[in-house]
């Protein structure tokens, strides 16, 4: 069983809340619980009472080009789910909060810093046999004066990644070892992860995202174990400028969360173009 969040040595423990905390705040008007999943059917099959859904594909992405929603889109989303700038949003979801962390990351592009992740995610809530409902809540629409999206601090773009590589700065590839080494999948007719080339960005170290999780209950590992993973094994330093990436930036937002909030790294960016951009781009260097 995981120790209490504040006993795990995290740099910013307040960005995590326990399932007990969420259970105690289900009717708190200043808290909005948000489910964000990899599986699109899960929310409707049952969710935490009062929780709204934020769907990555439909709610967070620009409907036409590959990019995130604009200021107006974010304001409309927040209005629809009844959130004001003062409210605390708590994300949870399936797959060890992978998509919850992705939604959290997108919210940070709009500086909604009153945001937390429910430790253990949906699986822990279910393990503890806490209530689920199929009733979809409706909240009064709010007016949310969203700022312009600011990509500068936590999002990396292709040319910035290339400069990062040339400067010898650290990258963390959070995909599976098979993806990292560019191993062919065993079915020849199957597309190679949506990319024409396999391998990884030169110099990137491989730390699969789920290594940060206790597999038995989906909670985050304590800080000393996370430091062993990233610092002892891969040589990262909290002062480093780090870029994380995966296939489309969703798994790497989980590792971004770990480095930034649990270990306190100040300069971590997520490269959401990730392998689907890098592995398809003409002329970019690849290592196997």
């Amino acid at each position: 069983m995981a120790t209490a969040i504040h006993e795990r040595g995290y740099a910013h423990p307040d960005t995590l809340v326990s399932t007990e905390w969420v259970a105690a705040h289900l009717n708190d008007p200043n808290v909005r619980i948000i489910e964000s999943n990899e599986d699109p059917l899960l929310y409707l099959s049952g969710h935490i009472p009062g929780a709204v859904q934020v769907d990555w594909t439909n709610d967070l992405n620009d409907p036409v080009r590959r990019d995130y929603i604009s200021r107006d889109g974010f304001a409309a989303l927040m209005s629809r789910i009844g959130v004001t700038p003062e409210m605390t949003v708590v994300f949870y979801g399936d797959k060890n909060n992978w998509w919850a962390c992705y939604a959290f990351w997108v919210f940070q592009l709009f500086n909604h810093t009153n945001a937390k992740i429910m430790d253990g995610g949906r699986a822990k809530w279910e393990q503890e046999k806490r209530p689920l409902t199929r009733e979809v809540p409706m909240y009064p629409a709010t007016t949310y004066p969203a700022p312009d999206r600011d990509d500068s601090a936590i999002r990396a773009f292709r040319d910035q990644v290339l400069a990062h590589v040339k400067a010898g700065k650290p990258l963390i590839d959070v995909r599976t070892p098979a993806e990292y080494i560019g191993e062919k999948l065993h079915m020849p007719e199957y597309p190679q992860e949506g990319a024409l080339r396999g391998g990884h960005i030169p110099g990137a170290k491989n730390v699969p995202w789920a290594e940060a999780i206790n597999p038995e209950d989906g909670t985050f590992k304590p800080a000393d174990e996370l430091r062993a993973l990233y610092e002892k094994e891969q040589g990262l330093n909290p002062a480093d400028e780090v870029i994380t990436y995966c296939r489309i930036g969703e798994r790497s937002s989980h590792s971004w969360f770990v480095l930034k909030y649990l270990l306190g790294y100040s300069h971590v960016r997520n490269y959401d173009g990730s392998w689907t951009e890098w592995g398809n781009a003409v002329g970019l260097p690849i290592e196997r």
Binding site: D39, L44, S45, D55, N58, E126, H186, M187, Y190, R247
Partner: protein, 149 residues
């Protein structure tokens, strides 16, 4: 051109008639509820399963099994190790119920993009790839039998 097996064509037509996304999702959840009926029986396979049976790119850890039938067709069974893998379970139920016992030539040519007919275009790339991986493995089993015959 080899068309869809009729049972699958019927399911696709039913889905196409549902324009409301939430209604379609509810139907898929009901479909996933029948997963126990297509879960691989112990006399066919037991965990830990062979990697050869694992659907590529499926984050829900879906496995596909094909059992030869006396009439030369295949009966398909599945397992989904992620208990929250509802979409994979729904996909498995649809494939087991509509492709088992169907001509191998048709099964082998089942287009993987039928995922979009069933789940809609708004499904995420990763999820779509995982579900297509399940279909691809079903196809591969049929192709393997055709090649051997």
């Amino acid at each position: 051109m080899v068309g869809y097996p009729k049972p699958l064509a019927d399911v696709i037509a039913d889905m196409a008639s549902i324009t409301d996304r939430r209604e379609r999702q509810e139907l898929l959840i009901e479909t996933a509820d029948r997963f126990a009926s297509v879960r691989v029986p112990a006399d066919v396979a037991q965990p830990p399963y062979s990697e050869a049976n694992r659907a590529p790119a499926c984050e829900s850890e879906a496995y596909v099994f094909a059992v030869d039938q006396p009439d030369g067709t295949l009966r398909y069974y599945f397992d989904v190790l992620n208990p929250q893998g509802l979409s994979a379970m729904a996909m498995a139920v649809i494939l087991a119920e509509t492709l088992s016992g169907q001509p191998l030539e048709q099964v082998a040519q089942t287009p993987t993009d039928l995922v979009f007919n069933l789940f809609g275009r708004e499904i995420s790339m990763g999820k779509g790839a995982g579900l297509m991986g399940i279909i691809a493995l079903v196809q591969a089993e049929a192709k393997r039998r055709l090649k051997a015959s």
